[in-house]
Amino acid sequence: MKRRTAIKQLFILAGGIAIATACDSGRNKASIALSNVDFTKDDEELLAQLVESIIPETDSPGARSLKLHLFVMKMVDDCHSSEDQQAFIEGLKKSKTIKGKPLAEVQNYLTSLEKEDKFLDILKRRTLMGYQNSEYVMKNKVIYELVPGRYDGAVKISS
């Protein structure tokens, strides 16, 4: 911490635009506030690619535009044990090979992982949770009723 402060001060002394850039990439923080896991901006982008490969954009929004990568980060940060978080970070590191690759390749990568892979399990489970509970889906696709105002115990299904 002290070292970082010292370096920062050094940059300030040097002045100039280059320093600001260096500073930013040095911090490289995710765009949402997190308390336990140190996700970087790069991790965030990688996660956006990964969640998009699970729920891609079609004629309806995909995971990236629904910001499910941010939701996954939030859940990993708050709702998992440190062992889970560790496994997730490691899995994320390994998946760096797909960075910037086309969707199909990302999907192939995820499919190639073991079914029991902890990283995949958390990633997929949280993406689906975020998707199914998203405002978009609950308002437009699988409608959630906050105030049903009725109960009918015998609705005949017409088919």
Partner: protein, 571 residues
């Protein structure tokens, strides 16, 4: 200075004090205020005002930061309350966290608490089945605990009274073991619940499957509109607090009603330390309070005191009310205070599927939760190798599911087009447990809480009777499930610690004999005539029915007696 003290004491003097603002305290307060008594209600937790203090009530699922899941650290820090089915992001603010008010578990006991104005009446499961003489005559017939000093006929008019005001949805089923009441229209059973009912009742004429009776306004009467409440909108998000006042809570119903009389003073953040006893007059003087935040000690005074702190905390307060006359707790001449605590055995569940009636589904949500199977075991006579019996909940639902295999467009498509599954059915047991001297709560001699009040030690456990009853429930229910053609039957016999049923009762039991009980048939301490206990602590035995409605009836009945006696200057 002396005058100031007199004035100050006068300001702290009321006609009546009610300790606790939950389901029974709210009723005591309403009845006292309506009878014209200046009433102080002491609540240890913060204030929660109807609607205004229900921060999550209108939130959609996506508006919860973690989509209603509790963060890992919160669960880790709160192993006890995290076990409660309703402890989620939408209602966590209404539950006591483990560290806030610690207790000593001599045996595992999950003490689930709601310290706020309204108490657990905001959070309860709202099931309201009357008790009957099969319950009140139980201890005498089967030779346990002590005889109840009352019978159903004593309580019936008070059940009528509280039901009319609270709003109870139910069908008139004509069952002596589950007396009918002043009902609003009952919620319907769904097609599979009805199908199960028909099969069971045909094969076993003594077993009934009825619509569960619940404290929901299925159709408002003028008395509910006058309370500012309206029809239940079938949200089943009750644990958040209901903006419609669709279900009964102190916050929506009794407390605002009491306030309207002008006789209510509500003091939140007031942790009751003890009841003050006047050795000369032989009666209670008032109540010693520790302010929750400032830790300041304040005494309040009244002619009569109603203890409605919630079963375990009522025990705590009486145990901590020590005087020369009562060295072991207020009114404890019988040495039964804190003992014979019992609960409901909820430790078995059974699940299955049904592949019939697939041309039907349901719409909306049922606030009653489905069906109720009143106790049929050992009802008219002893039939099994264990005492008493169980009631059961039964429900069927048809849920949508999506194939979550794979990824990409196909997965997305599947998620956006959920399919209706088979019917899921399930049942849970609600077993009567036998009050025993060895199931007790007591004060720890050394450790104290943040307010200088001794920590409670809790030693409550199941016994062999509970194990036998549980096995019978599972066997019997499995048979009925098989006979109904249900498939994929799964028995869940995992023991849960006592407490998690949130039906803890006793410790300050009613009885005919002051030598073996604490309270008279009027819920009045045998030895201290101006102190009344009308919450779960007063229960002599537990029945199988959910107890809250019975606490309400006892509270109203007891206030009526107390006020009459007070006016006659008998107490």
């Amino acid at each position: 200075m002396a005058n100031l003290n007199i004035d100050s004491k006068k300001e702290r003097t009321y006609d009546a004090i009610v300790i606790g603002s939950g389901i029974s305290g709210g009723w005591s307060a309403k009845e006292l205020c309506e009878r014209g008594l200046k009433t102080l209600v002491l609540e240890r937790g913060r204030d929660v005002q109807h609607i205004k203090d229900y921060p999550t009530t209108n939130m959609n699922p996506w508006e919860f930061e973690h989509r209603n899941e509790m963060p890992y650290q919160v669960k880790k820090d709160n192993p006890i309350v995290s076990k409660c089915y309703a402890f989620h992001e939408d209602a966590a603010h209404f539950f006591v966290k483990d560290a806030e008010h610690p207790y000593i578990q001599e045996k595992p006991f999950d003490w689930i608490r709601g310290y706020q104005v309204g108490g657990k009446s905001l959070l309860w499961a709202r099931q309201t089945q009357r008790w009957s003489d099969f319950d009140f005559e139980g201890p005498q017939r089967d030779g346990f605990a002590v005889d109840w000093p009352i019978r159903y006929a004593d309580l019936k008019p008070w059940y009528d009274h509280v039901e009319r005001f609270a709003g109870i949805a139910g069908d008139k089923d004509g069952l002596p073991e589950l007396p009918d009441g002043e009902f609003l229209p009952g919620y319907p059973l769904n097609v599979v619940e009805k199908y199960f009912k028909q099969g069971v009742e045909k094969k076993y004429p003594n077993r009934k499957v009825i619509s569960a009776r619940c404290a929901h306004i299925s159709k408002p009467e003028p008395i509910h509109i006058q309370q500012g409440r309206t029809q239940c909108q079938n949200r089943t998000l009750c644990q958040r607090g209901c903006p419609f006042g669709g279900y009964f809570s102190s916050n929506a119903s009794t407390l605002p009603w009491a306030a309207k009389t002008g006789n209510l003073t509500l003091r939140p953040d007031s942790v009751v330390h003890s009841i003050l006893y006047d050795e000369q007059k032989g009666r209670a003087l008032g109540v010693k309070v520790i302010d929750r935040n400032s830790k300041e000690e304040i005494d309040f005074f009244a002619e009569i005191i109603f203890v409605n702190a919630g079963a375990i905390n009522t025990n705590l307060i009486l145990l901590n009310s020590i005087s020369n006359r009562f060295e072991n707790g207020l009114g404890n001449d019988s040495n039964t205070l804190g003992k014979y605590v019992a609960f409901h055995n909820y430790s078995a569940r059974i699940y299955a599927e049904y592949e019939g009636l697939l041309d039907y589904t349901t719409a909306g949500r049922n606030p009653a939760g489905g069906a109720y199977i009143p106790r049929f075991r050992n009802l008219h006579k002893q039939e099994t190798d264990y005492l008493r019996g169980y009631a059961a909940g039964f429900g069927a639902g048809r849920y949508s599911y999506s194939d979550t295999e794979g990824l990409g467009e196909e997965l997305k498509n599947s998620l956006l087009n959920p399919k209706l599954g088979k019917w899921s059915v399930g049942s849970h047991m609600m077993g009567e447990t036998i009050p025993k001297e060895s199931n007790y709560v007591a004060l720890d001699a050394a450790q104290k809480d943040d307010w200088g009040i001794p920590l409670l030690k809790i030693a409550i456990d199941y016994d062999d009777n509970d194990a036998k009853m549980k096995k019978d429930y599972l066997d019997t229910m499995e048979d009925m499930f098989k006979e109904a053609g249900f498939t994929n039957i799964r028995r869940d016999d995992k023991w849960q610690a006592p407490g998690l049923d949130i039906h803890e009762m006793g410790g300050v039991r009613m009885g005919l004999d002051p030598k073996s009980s604490m309270l008279s048939k009027w819920n009045q301490l045998h030895a201290v005539p101006n102190v009344f206990v009308t919450d779960g602590a007063s229960m002599t035995s537990t029945s199988t029915q959910n107890p809250s409605l019975t606490y309400m009836a006892f509270s109203a009945r007891s206030v009526d007696y107390a006020v009459n006696e007070l006016k006659k200057r008998n107490i």
